[in-house]
Symmetry: none
Subunit: 399 residues, 2 copies
């Protein structure tokens, strides 16, 4: 996708804002009913839609349910299948761990095992982050010859382990059995070049279980998402942008760093994000604002709470529009219908607003209203193209 | 297309039904009028559409009129241009001839030649199928060293010849000159590896002309569509499905076998198909139901009779919905407008119904109503993706 535009880039100081309501797309609560977004009172979004080009997008492809990382890559203008990103990398980047080429990162959950070593709780009673940090510090005692091991807390029971050394690979299966009442799986190579890493992981787990033996409830560990750093060209290289990420949650900062965004580290909430946006306005030309809780409430299966989160973002919109961005995109990275309590493959509504767009007949922001918009259902990565075009950053093609 | 989903497949027992009204798409009988489908009273299809995602599909591509075999390949989730199926193979599979890899099948027409051997009638006065069968039996006398020759009647003046032996290939040009007043062409190889088969075909024709010399009007033969069995991965391999075909007409059983479907052999009509569907419900997870006569009446140019066939299928729908399939797709394999008396390139309306879809504003099933649906005009092979997604057979992509 970027090849055609590479020679057309004309960077300027015009401002693009991408506002992502995580998991925005939804489904009706009951047959014949409205989705979360259709239910929400969203006067500001509706006013934007009325002056915008609207449509729906598919981050990866027809019928594919996007994970968060590929969903965001798509919104950042990349074809996600060209750049598979493992869970371990997302976790490591999310906590600012300085990964290097050749490192293997793994998501680790603290868990509870019974006397036979069978997992009784895959999340160790959801221990708080402080406890997780303490346990990670204890695991610093793990020593493996010629491999540097780093163990870092992420959030609650979640941690990340990074192995650094020669000849490591991410071709290793998860040890998380995704069930209770059974023992964790042994780390097994999924290809020959994963054998050494599988042995390293097995030795790590052996020592970790010794160190954690007396801990309650976190006396076990589960590993998943062995991953090496993918080689992704930056948004600067591909699009000539100077991008900035304004996200609260670690994973979204992680994926932003992967594409070379600057990241503001300690944001707490939408107000805080709006302040940071205003104070960084002069130094960047692309701003990614992320709101996590629409997805969280969808995952909880709480339809009304997801509606409330959408309304909260709607009320917050004037803080963005007050800055008069040249292009403002509002959308989600995937659908998380409350009725499904999880991500889904349904297309996600978007609006793209700015002085240069051609407003279409859509008058409200919703899944079905957007079907009548300019763009129909398009690949998510197209949105970046439109943002570049409508902010005057792409020259004419051909004479 | 299938590559991305190959690693996401999570087979389950949820049921997908694909109901194909052959040649469904149509055109208005007069300017400003309605198509066959728009004219038909279809309360059951309309009710389904109201709870479904709708759109139109193109089996092969913009402006391409699909033959039946590639039209169906597309609905089965394949990109038809990746798997060209020769005329000879379609004919052989259509009459249940058990073709093997390496066999070369050819469509043969009985024809009439004058005293100089020039073709005066390319269809031998459209001799009836019984006469055709008699002549095929006479041609069993053809003997070619180390090549097994099978000659089988198809319908009217149409027959199929299958050559079996070592080193055969389909790289041979047609002998049908597509004109009268000229001699048939010699069989010529279109590539080096077709030379032996061209010689075999020449010898077959030489002996056949001897055997038929005294016949009237069928004293000559024309061959076209030399074809080997294509290597098509099965629906099991590509999609993890256990598919079953419920078709009355031989050609559709043939193309179903090509993609590894189980086929119920002796179905007579829709009622019979419905019974077989119900009794096979537990043993498969994908069911292809085919109704031929919408296409036949379109080919006849009989607008009202095509409308009646659509209404017949509508009345039959409750027998399918009573089984509560998790995903039900209703569509056609191509358009056959009665006003054109043949296949056409127009997009074909579809609906995809099930608990997991996001119903769109479409309230009736018709070519123009479906334009307001979720999907716009998409490649036919996309429908299989959506069916897999909405039956929960595809895992999330990425972390």
């Amino acid at each position: 996708m970027p090849d055609v535009i590479q020679n057309l880039l004309e960077p300027n100081d015009k401002k693009i804002v991408l506002l992502v309501l995580d998991g925005l797309g939804g489904l009706p609560r009951e047959p014949g009913g409205q989705t979360e977004l259709e239910t929400a009172r969203t006067p500001n979004l509706d006013a934007l839609a009325a002056g915008a080009e609207c449509g729906l997008h598919l981050p990866i492809g027809y019928g594919i349910t996007p994970g968060s990382a590929p969903g965001h890559l798509s919104l950042f203008g990349y074809t996600p299948t060209d750049y598979p990103i493992g869970r371990g990398v997302v976790a490591a980047l999310g906590i600012d761990f300085p990964m290097r080429a050749g490192d293997v990162a793994v998501r680790m959950n603290f868990a509870t095992a019974d006397a036979q070593g069978k997992i009784s709780d895959r999340r160790a009673g959801r221990i708080p982050t402080e406890k997780c940090a303490e346990l990670c510090a204890l695991l610093a005692a793990v020593k493996i010859p010629s491999v540097e091991v780093s163990v870092r807390p992420v959030k609650d029971y979640r941690a990340v382990v990074v192995f650094r050394g020669k000849g490591l690979s991410d071709r290793v299966h998860d040890t998380d059995p995704q069930a209770t009442g059974v023992k964790p799986l042994e780390p097994r190579a999924s290809a020959d070049r994963g054998k050494k890493t599988a042995e390293v992981a097995a030795e790590f787990i052996r020592q970790a279980l010794g160190i954690l033996a007396k801990q309650k409830p976190a006396n076990a560990v589960l590993m998943r998402g062995f991953a090496e750093l993918p080689h992704i060209p930056s948004m600067k290289e591909l699009f000539g942008l100077r991008p900035l990420a304004l996200a609260v949650y670690p994973d979204y900062k992680g994926v932003s760093r992967l594409v070379g965004m600057d990241v503001i580290p300690d944001l707490r909430d939408l107000d805080h994000q709006a302040e940071a946006l205003a104070s960084s306005w002069g130094k960047h030309d692309f701003f990614f604002l992320h709101h996590k809780y629409t997805d969280s409430r969808g995952e909880d299966g709480d339809f009304d709470a997801k509606v409330a989160e959408i309304q909260k973002v709607d009320a917050f919109l004037p803080k963005i529009t007050a800055l008069k961005p040249d292009v403002l995109i509002v959308t989600g990275d995937h659908s998380t219908p409350a009725v499904l309590k999880g991500h889904s493959s349904h297309p996600i509504p978007f609006l793209i607003h700015g002085a240069a767009v051609r407003p279409d007949p859509v008058r409200e922001f919703g899944e079905r209203a957007c079907l009548a918009g300019t763009w129909g259902v398009i690949p998510g990565a197209v949105l970046m193209r439109l943002a570049l075009a409508y902010s005057g950053k792409l020259a004419k093609y051909g004479a």
